[in-house]
Amino acid sequence: MNIQAKTAAPSADISEKQEKTSSGFKAEIFRRYFRVVHALFAVLLLVQLLPDKLKTETYASYVIWFAVGVEVLTLVVSAFIKKRESLNLFVDIVAFVYALLTAWTLATAKFDLLKAALFPPPGKVFWQFIGDYDKILTNVQSSAGIILQGYLLAIAAAIPLGLFLGWSARLGSAATYISKFLGAIPPIVYIPYGIALLPTFRSVSVFVIFLATFWPVLGGTMSGVMNVEKKTIDSAKVLNVNKFTMLFSVILPASLQQIFIGCNQGLTVSFVLLTSAEMVGAQSGLGYYIKNYSDFGDYTRTIVGLIVVGIVIVFISFIFNRIQKFLLRWKQ
């Protein structure tokens, strides 16, 4: 009897599901694919077919290929995303990209409303991007390498130190004031010392990013440790944990959220610092790429550089958020 009931249940479930899918199939297709974004895609393609007003080559085919690529991606993603909200978000972003490209094409290639030397048409930017792909990749690697090195070194040093200082009642309060003072000094002013003490531009950059990250992470860790609930500490104490376990298995996870606030702050400052520093004194990196070509009046490449900087920052923030979400998955 029992077994029968058990086996009967799933099959009933399946048939119910099938009914649902067959009756709701049209509605589902409609919901997933009947969207304004696809109309915007069509508009973008049609706009490319208008006659150019701009005298120089506009590389309209690159925009078309790009748009077709994005559209295919959108269609594939539309089929797989489960949550309605996520699908809406994705589609809205794509719609924004289409609208922007349409407006950009119209303002440059089609009606020549902006200064052509400063504002190249989108097709030319895509074309340049593909042509400069290798060079861009090297520069991205150079910038990302410096950031990662300085950033990770700072985190590796600041978190254990912050745990130790925050946990020690006496040192902690003094250290809070000291780190507030030292952290208040903009890291960029250490550059002269860095240049005097360190051999290469790269090492100076790592040093400055280290400092830019070290203080916020240290501050975040200490304030996190000091704000751990007494009851959490008590329940660890009654389990008889040793000092090491207390610091790294209890205090560290309990203050993780505050630590991440510090890490986030450090990451933002690091990008600003590095790109500015590269624009002034480097021979490689994304800041250098932008500055170098704008000096030569090559604004197509300048825009390529701007877009790449944006992509790199969004990508790193995305990864960072993922790590944060994973490590804090126990929080609701």
Binding site: E229, K231, T232, D234, S235, A236, K237, V238, L239, N240, V241, T245, S249, V250, P253, A254, L256, R329, W330, K331, Q332
Partner: protein
């Protein structure tokens, strides 16, 4: 020699230049394998007493002896269940239990710890929830995990500070029965100090009830609970003896409060 001897314990707190006495000359002893409830209205210092037993606080005067040795801090001979926050929110139920085991048994391998943790989670009926985080569990389930951890650590003494105080009436009954069953069936039985403000809970669970009064916290009476084990709540509450005993305790409990407040028109 008693398992736990509490000798002339006095605790003074100073808060914002005002000092007050949480405990005054508290003395009583607990035998090995005994289940003792400490009961009293809020502010009678029962939780302060327990925190000294845990080794988190230290007394102003007096001392506590466990096996004849004075308590100077936390120790691997005592397992604790608090009302809240016993569990670490970043660890799953299973990890919480395994973490507790690791602190008392350093030689156990990871697999052994997890195996033991699973065993005890099964005893408290949570085998299906072992990979959930505390935030995904109800209050009652969290306390089950805390009990599983305390039991899995296999300490001689179990200290429980109003463990079911924040749980709804129905689940509280279930948890009391679970605790009693696990304790009665263990060999040898653990020594338990159980703080509560619920008279029925104290009667149902304990061998001895220590009733405390407030301002300052003192032992008012020590009462032995005269019912045989294993106890069955449904049968027990129907007996005359039970109701008589319960009424006596209640009148003691409230006469104390009335005498403390000193008025005749006390609204309770």
């Amino acid at each position: 020699m008693s398992k736990i001897e509490i000798k002339n314990l006095t605790v003074n707190y100073t808060e914002k230049k005002k000092s007050f006495t949480a405990l005054k000359n508290v003395s009583f002893s607990i035998e090995e394998g005994e289940f003792v409830s400490v009961i009293g209205s809020s502010g009678c210092g029962k939780s302060t007493l327990l925190s000294i037993l845990e080794g988190i606080n230290s007394p102003t005067e007096g001392e506590i002896l466990i096996n004849g040795e004075p308590v100077t801090g936390t120790g691997p001979d005592r397992g604790v269940v608090f009302q809240h926050y016993s569990l670490f929110p970043w660890m799953t139920a299973r990890k919480n239990v395994a973490f507790g085991i690791k602190q008392v048994n350093k030689s156990a391998s990871r697999a052994e710890r997890y195996h033991l943790a699973d065993e005890f989670l099964e005893k408290v009926g949570l085998e299906q929830f072992k990979n959930k985080y505390p935030s995904q569990l109800s209050g009652g389930m969290q306390q089950r995990v805390a009990i599983a951890r305390a039991l899995a650590m296999d300490t001689d003494i179990l200290l429980m500070d109003e463990p079911f105080g924040a749980i709804d009436a129905k689940n509280r009954t279930i948890l009391q029965e679970l605790l009693l069953e696990l304790w009665e069936n263990a060999e040898p039985r653990k020594t338990v100090v159980f703080v509560t403000h619920d008279i029925d809970e104290a009667i149902f669970l304990s061998d001895k009830i220590v009733m405390m009064t407030a301002n300052p916290g003192r032992v008012y009476r020590e009462i032995r609970v005269p019912f045989d084990r294993p106890r069955n709540r449904a049968e027990l509450v129907q007996t005359k003896e039970y109701n008589k005993f319960r009424n006596e305790l209640l009148s003691m409990f409230y006469s104390d409060i009335v005498s403390k407040i000193g008025g005749e028109e006390v609204v309770l």
